[in-house]
Amino acid sequence: VAGLALGAIVLAAASVLVLLWTAVSHLRFAAAERNRRLLEVRLRPAALALIDEDVLPVFASRAEAEVFADLLGRYSRQLQGDARARIARFFERSGAVGLVVAALGDRRPWTRAEAAFSLGDMGSPAAVEPLLESLRDRDVDVRAAAARSLGRLGAPEAVEPLLELLSTRSLPRAVVGRALLEIGPAAIPSLLRLVDCEDPLERAAAIQLVGLLGDAGDAPPLIGRLQDGDAAVRVQAAAALGRLGAADAERAVRRALGDPSEQVRAAAAETLGVIGSHADVDALVTIARGDAFAPAQAAARSVVRLDGRHATVPADGQHLAEAVDLAALT
């Protein structure tokens, strides 16, 4: 009994100590966060002066310099043009870019990933080459951070290495896609080469990105993909043709309303609302009246877009009635 009592006392004391330690840690963390925010408020005018006119600040402490760098990094994510170039110049002149590039060679993956991430926010073109190297890092987090930063830097040199990482599944599709989107139309020629590659996942990803980055002139290779053997590719092709505003694809997309896949019919119906004409309305009304939920709803929206007269035909069913109501609200 005495042993049990002693155990209970030790356990209680240990619990109290843990609670105290947690409370103290919490208070210290809150105080540090409060100080950081106060420093940020104090340093913000200096950051705005640098962004506006290249006015270099003088720091009283290392903490100030760190908070300032963090603030500028956040601004860099939201800005472009001269403002972003001034932020990049600050990081280059302060020696920060060199230091962070050196950290890409650190033995700890977390440090390398953090460095790769920071370089994107610093915005210096000097970081492109080292980041391309980091795309071959053995750690996936480092590769992902490097991809994100190359996107932020808008580096067209990164397009082929990124697509290579996509094809070898060395990076998640979303990471590669996001980076390519940020790089912009420079990625289109490489993406168009992938539109009829062997791997359906790659085909679908490439078509989706062409749809987001391209214009109607990029549409012809995508029209053929409406006949692809893989339904996911056909869905992306139908959706991309709408985003591209590919009016020449109208007939091919109308044919896709008869696709065996519900998702393809839905994407085709949605796209016809953008690139279609009155010639498509009858086919869309048929889908809106009797197809499964997704294609019927998409077709109804497109009917209303193409032909406002259907606002007065209540007998066309639930989806059309909803689409009419929605159109009236927006």
Partner: protein
């Protein structure tokens, strides 16, 4: 001295709001700040600004809702609105204009370009 035109700046990101307020101040505008859509709508309806710069994704009411509400009101129906957003797809931009915005600036953005667009909108009217 001529009265400075009043601009409402609504943006929930404190960093960006401070940057826009700073830029508008430099361009010679008086600025009222809002951190959410409801506050933005209230300021725009009560203070009759010359222009409103609205972030699209804001708490309480988004920039699209605020724009629609302004267009429905008698007071705000003619207030020029610039929407600022990280939503950059063509369809997002189209939604912005359908809501009644006069201009749509995609993030990341250039503060100089924003200033030029504000100036162009106000100069034209």
């Amino acid at each position: 001295m001529a009265e400075m035109p009043l601009v409402v700046v609504a943006e929930d990101d404190e960093d960006i709001r401070a940057l826009i307020v700073h830029r508008m101040g430099k361009e010679g505008y008086e600025v009222l700040e809002a951190g959410d859509g409801e506050e933005a709508l209230r300021l725009a309806l009560e203070c009759h600004p010359a222009l409103a710069i609205l972030d699209v994704m804001m708490p309480k009411r988004d920039g699209l809702e605020v724009t629609r509400e302004l267009r429905r009101s008698e007071v705000g129906s003619r207030t020029p609105v610039i929407l600022l957003s990280a939503r950059t797809l063509e369809s997002d931009v189209a939604l912005g204009f359908e809501a009644g915005a006069d201009d749509y600036l995609r993030k990341p953005f250039s503060p100089v370009e924003l200033g030029a667009r504000v100036h162009a909108l106000l100069g034209r009217r």
